[in-house]
């Protein structure tokens, strides 16, 4: 994609931070950043936008020196701060040179008091006087923290915790503050307040890199902005320029740029046949009724209801922290709901153990790929057949004829599934050698090997580039057409969801805010608000 301002900000010489042509890999396999260049001018706010897996957090880790803690390493390019090379510096040194990162998900120390959290933030400062001056300034910026300074940080509300995370970082009086998704999972009002806080901090002379999925808030406070897509900078320019582009609007809302929906809809599945002849569980409707899940004081899901028609593709979408994964975990029996029921046909799933639910023909994939990296694709897929295999430890060990016959049969089925998800060529390769997109396919294949009637997909295209995502959507459409099974998918990628789903349920803060066909949901003001942030009246400005 083109750079909006040709000279960009890279040409400016008064930049404090320069990232040039940076490439980063994790564990020698997944390339998370590929030739990324950004720079931060003294006293400016730079927004970095992008979806899940775009490489935003990786970029911050490369600056703050924490890549190593995640098994990542810089492959090429450079990161300089005031002329000093930051590559290979440990996080402690980076903090002492004036850069502090507020991590994604706040990561305050919940067992420590508010005051102790702030103290932890100031430990890198030797001078006690400077520490207490910094603390006074933090309390001035966030009076709420002073009121609650003796309380355990875990007891603060989400917004207060974010304030604490920012305050903690300010304790070392950084020249450059890195904020990783500060608006994640927060109510629109609180998000507005965070925008103000960023402005205030910047007004006091601190430069800021603001990584966000909330494009409206980030573009409103930033001077410059970059959009990352699968590890590359796909757009850059001033915040005002980016806010005007249809790309940004489309990417964050899934609204096609001006045109009407001309994408081919996947063919609707043939009526599910009574398939119990070949031992496959029958395909039934899934009913979620008044589902509420609480963890301690946090309500992750509140009175959520939806219905998945047999043979349909049903998407559950919502911003980070909306309760999507919690919802999947209740469906598979990993979490027990506080109240409400999940019915599958005439069976009540709530209260059943995960393996009992799997036996009813419910199969899932995992957002953070959960495969055995050293085993081959075939073996990983074979694992999915476990529920359907009869041969025991001894008969397999002695290679009895029954066990051998079964193995042959199972391998045949594995090959069929591999064909369905386009992995035939990779069957004998260890999973660790596969690129990320293919691993996601193995996840899907393993779930399909269990011959499910209901397939649950947890972010099947997270971190994929548009091509991979397109292929994945073809594969899922194929699978559905071929097997006629129901699919529930949780996803961030709006374009993907709109292309594939028959029906969409939108969650925000654990509540169902919309439910309907993709076209209906796209027009829903509550959905626009949830995705763009901001209060209802600021919505026009945002959109």
């Amino acid at each position: 994609m083109p750079t909006l301002t040709e000279e960009g900000v890279n040409g400016l010489t008064d930049a404090v931070l320069h990232v040039r042509d940076l490439s980063v890999r994790y564990a020698g396999a997944v390339r998370a950043l590929d030739g990324v260049s950004i720079s931060v001018t003294e006293g400016s706010v730079v927004a970095v936008l992008g979806g899940n897996g775009a490489g935003k957090s990786t970029l911050l880790r490369a600056i703050s020196g924490t890549l190593g803690l995640q098994g990542g390493a810089v492959e090429g390019g450079e990161v300089t701060f005031r002329g000093q090379d930051l590559r290979g510096r440990d996080p402690g040194t980076v903090v002492r040179s004036g850069i502090v990162q507020v991590p994604e998900g706040r990561r305050i120390f919940g067992e420590l008091t508010v005051e102790e959290n702030l103290r932890a933030g100031g430990l890198s400062v030797r001078d006690r006087g400077a520490r207490s001056r910094a603390r006074d300034r933090v309390f001035e910026l966030f009076p709420r923290l002073e009121e609650r300074h003796r309380q355990r940080a875990a007891l603060l509300s989400g917004g207060e915790q974010q304030m604490l995370a920012i305050g903690r970082a300010l304790m070392s009086e950084p020249e450059l503050l890195l904020l990783d998704e500060p608006s994640l999972g927060l109510a629109p009002k609180v998000v507005d307040r965070i925008g103000e806080v960023v402005r205030e901090i910047n007004g006091q002379g601190t430069s800021v890199i603001l990584v966000e999925q909330n494009a409206a808030m980030a573009l409103a406070v930033a001077d410059q902005a970059y959009v990352l897509e699968v590890g590359r900078v796909s757009l850059s320019g001033t915040a005002a320029e980016l806010a005007d582009t249809s790309e940004v609007r489309e990417r964050y809302l899934g609204i096609p740029g001006g045109d009407t929906d001309d994408r081919p809809h996947p063919p609707h599945a043939p009526a599910p046949s009574a398939d119990s002849a070949n031992g496959r569980p029958a395909i039934r409707e899934l009913d979620v009724e008044a589902l509420t899940v609480r963890f301690g004081g946090i309500t992750a899901l509140s009175d959520v209801a939806f219905r998945v028609e047999p043979g349909s593709v049903h998407a559950v979408i919502g911003p980070n922290g909306a309760g999507k994964s919690t919802c999947l975990n209740v469906l598979t029996g990993v979490y027990a709901p506080t109240s409400g029921t999940v019915r599958y046909g005439d069976k009540v799933l709530t209260g059943l153990r995960p393996h009992r639910i799997a036996r009813l023909g419910v199969s899932r994939t995992f957002q953070n790929i959960a495969l055995s990296p050293a085993a081959t694709v075939a073996d990983n897929l074979l694992l999915g057949r476990h529920r359907l295999s009869r041969a025991g430890f001894l008969s397999t060990g002695f290679g009895l004829p029954g066990a051998r016959r079964e193995r042959k049969r199972e391998q045949g089925r594995v090959a069929e599934v591999a064909g369905l998800v386009h992995l035939d060529a990779q069957l004998q390769r260890p999973v660790a050698e596969l690129p990320y997109g293919d691993r996601k396919r193995v996840e899907l294949g393993r779930a399909l090997c269990a011959d499910p009637a209901l397939l649950l997909l947890d972010e099947p295209v997270a971190g994929m580039n548009p091509d991979e995502s397109e292929q994945m959507s073809q594969t899922i459409a194929n699978v559905r057409a071929e097997l006629g099974i129901s699919v529930v998918l949780v996803e961030h990628d709006m374009a993907f969801v709109m292309r594939l789903a028959d029906h969409v349920t939108v969650l925000d803060f654990g509540e169902r805010i919309a439910d309907g066909t993709p076209a209906e949901v796209q027009q829903d003001p509550a959905v626009l608000r949830a995705y763009l942030g901001g209060s209802p009246d600021s919505q026009e400005a945002a959109g």
Partner: protein, 296 residues
């Protein structure tokens, strides 16, 4: 009744010694997520140094030397061996500590042989009379020292910069690193403190009524391991409570051995593990441990 109270007092005083040792396990685990199986050998090293040097340095000087030696040894294990194994899982590191334990224990056993070394403590076999009960002076000293050390540790853990850094790193290592807390120093500090506590525990573990420094002391000091586990491996309070429970239970079992002879001899050695298993069946994360949360 008389015997019961006497055993209880004796058990509690022994329990404080276990608490010192168990606290070492907990500190290392909290800071680095490694279970240090070399702890018993580091303790033996501390006690051995005390036994060898008290003739020339005096008892107080020898204890100082022992504490420093054990702390230094622990730091060397952390800096020279564990930290170099970058990228290894904590499980691997834990198994490495078993190897270190075997090396250390073999060398110390070679030096000590079958001898029983005197720790050179000033309490010898004196006994303090509390009303109608009598307790070895060494045990009283152990309890007093242990309570003082535990109080000092708790205060440092709660109020000092070191404590804030330790607790932050224990809760979220990456978060702490992002705040400029140097994880390497936190880990080295934790190992040093744990080593020092082990040496101190070793001194009282080898005073009267135990015979003295033997090659087997390292192994029997591992009885503090079930104390740490049943208290919850990541809880300071748990280490103290677990230590006290194990101290009382072992002392009681040995004291009433004749009454429970039908269970067989030597039950005192087994009972800490029985108690640990029972507690874990009831509370899988130990009495004060944090429940492990995994996200799917």
């Amino acid at each position: 009744m008389n015997q019961f109270v006497e055993l209880l007092i004796s058990g509690l005083s022994l329990g404080f010694v276990y608490a010192l040792i168990a606290l070492g396990f907990v500190i290392i685990f909290k800071a680095t997520r490694v279970v240090n199986f070399a702890h018993g050998s580091i303790l033996l090293l501390g006690a051995y140094v005390v036994a060898r040097t008290h003739g020339s340095l005096g008892f107080a000087g020898a204890v100082l030397a022992g504490v420093l030696a054990a702390a230094l040894c622990a730091v060397i294990v952390q800096l020279v061996i564990l930290r170099r194994l970058r990228g290894a899982t904590t499980d691997t590191l834990t198994i490495v500590t078993i190897g270190i334990d075997i090396l250390l224990a073999t060398e110390l056993t070679r030096r000590i042989g079958t001898k029983v070394l005197n720790i050179g403590d000033p309490w010898r076999d004196h006994v303090v009379h509390l009303g109608s009960f009598s307790v070895p002076s060494a045990r009283v000293a152990a309890a007093v020292v242990a309570i003082l050390v535990l109080a000092a540790f708790t205060a440092a853990f709660k109020y000092s910069d070191w404590g804030v850094a330790m607790r932050s790193a224990a809760e979220d290592a990456e978060g702490a690193a992002l705040m400029g807390i140097r994880l390497g120093r936190v880990a080295a500090g934790a190992w040093a403190v744990a080593g020092a506590l082990a040496a101190l525990g070793g001194v009282f573990f080898t005073t009267f009524p135990t015979p003295g420094v033997q090659a087997t002391v390292g192994l029997s000091a591992l009885t503090a391991f079930p104390a740490a586990i049943l208290g919850g491996l990541d809880s300071v309070t748990g280490a103290v409570v677990g230590g006290l429970i194990i101290g009382v239970v072992t002392t009681m079992t040995s004291g009433y051995q004749d009454h429970i002879a039908f269970l067989g001899r030597g039950l005192g050695d087994v009972v800490p593990y029985v108690v640990m298993v029972l507690v874990l069946l009831w509370r899988p994360s130990g009495l004060f441990g944090t429940k492990e949360v995994t996200r799917v």
